[in-house]
Symmetry: C2
Subunit: 222 residues, 2 copies
DNA sequence: CAAATAGTGTCTGTGAGACAGTATGTC
DNA sequence: GACATACTGTCTCACAGACACTATTTG
């Protein structure tokens, strides 16, 4: 007969926080991988669509109900031994979130990804690394860098997102020119803020564009 | 209890053939969707990794054992009603192949994708369209256009691949300059061919590059 | 005033698009 | 020879990177 397999949805939720790229994780308190960090995840229900399952797990397990998180399917991980208890197929979703408080009730916390690389359960390191690489690419050819920002943000705040996700410093003047000239990327609100000090900076919201032409290529250096 | 779901792997295998982008499909001979075209697919075995399942289905169901087909995971499709008989989760793989003979034994045939858009079973049209879009993007920033070519090919043959996949004519001289200058894309074999008529064209193999810097952007027109 | 950050302008090199011209095969 | 295709070269415009300068706030 046809083999049936348990299917879970795991979330790589990323944010930029305290000058670092962070992922939303929880610390496992029982075997296997006791004490290691794990992504939020859960089994899909029998009559549940995959995007609906991802939304449900974002709300229930990740503790971010209704939060403005961009969710997209990342990849599916299925080699038989990835969970030592039983075979589980995992459909991973990538989430890009602004700097929200982590839910203590759900026992979730934001941890810098650099500190997680050696401390994760199952194959969650691999899933997280794939998610980070996807996010880096998305910043090149979509306006999704703004998904890491609050609803209204300055060009400098957006630039710091790019710098932290790409791990490279960008020229503020050239960056400003690129993002303000990109069609549909930023919409000025008319307001300004001085929360970063210095001269008041204009505030923007995300524009209607879904793709950037031309893309914001990270240079070929390094 | 944990719900268990049948999981299949479906293949979107594409090639360029007779001046058209074609997909490898078979015609269903029983309900549901009798008479419609379908992608090759099959259920994964209990102890089988996903890439291994994709290779097996390429060999057994698609009738292309050992063929030089570039396979990569595309996306996972899981809404509950996609198969009217029972819920099946489908992990789709994208395959890029040179112009190989389709296996009559496996009842497969190459059909132009333009003729398939209204004639496919299940959600296979959606899966195929996603695969085509992925292939179009891959041609921009990877050297995978060569995966549609025989082991040795000319610049003009590669250009026709790009033209057909992107659905747009390209300037032969600018294309030649771009691909021959792209580091690691093409390796000259030293031989030439006159199979296209006219002056003999140099033959190339795929080079070691996995990414193109800078990418071969399709222009923003249309 | 100094200090800090925001924003504009200019120069330069690279590369894409457009297109002319030359090279080398077949018939 | 005509013809077909391969390949090289040149011009121009757009844009990315580098960097100087001005603008507007706080203390």
């Amino acid at each position: 007969m046809v083999p049936r397999i348990p299917v879970s949805v795991d979330l790589v939720v990323l944010t930029v926080r305290f000058q670092a790229l962070c992922a939303l994780v929880w610390r496992r308190d029982k075997p296997p991988y006791e004490g290691r960090w794990a992504l939020s995840g859960g089994f899909i229900h029998l009559d549940e669509d995959l995007p609906a399952a991802a939304e449900r797990i974002l709300a229930e397990r990740a503790g971010l109900p209704g939060a403005p998180v961009h969710l997209e399917q990342l990849q599916t991980y299925g080699y038989p031994d990835r969970d030592p208890r039983q075979r589980v197929l995992s459909v991973a979703y990538l989430g890009l979130a602004p700097d929200l408080p982590a839910s203590t009730e759900a026992h979730m916390s934001w941890q810098p990804v650099s500190s997680l690389l050696r401390e994760m359960a199952f194959d969650h390191r691999r899933i997280m690394v794939d998610g980070i690489e996807r996010a880096r690419g998305k910043l090149e050819y979509t306006p999704l860098g703004a998904a890491f920002c609050p609803p209204e943000f300055t060009v400098a705040e957006l630039r710091r997102v790019y710098e932290i996700v790409w791990g490279r410093v960008l020229d503020p003047r050239n960056f400003h020119r690129k993002v303000t000239k990109a069609e549909g990327f930023l919409v000025p609100t008319g307001d300004t803020t001085t929360r970063d000090g210095g001269r008041p900076a204009k505030l923007y919201r995300r524009g209607p564009a879904t793709m950037l032409h031309p893309p914001m290529l990270r240079s070929l250096k390094d």
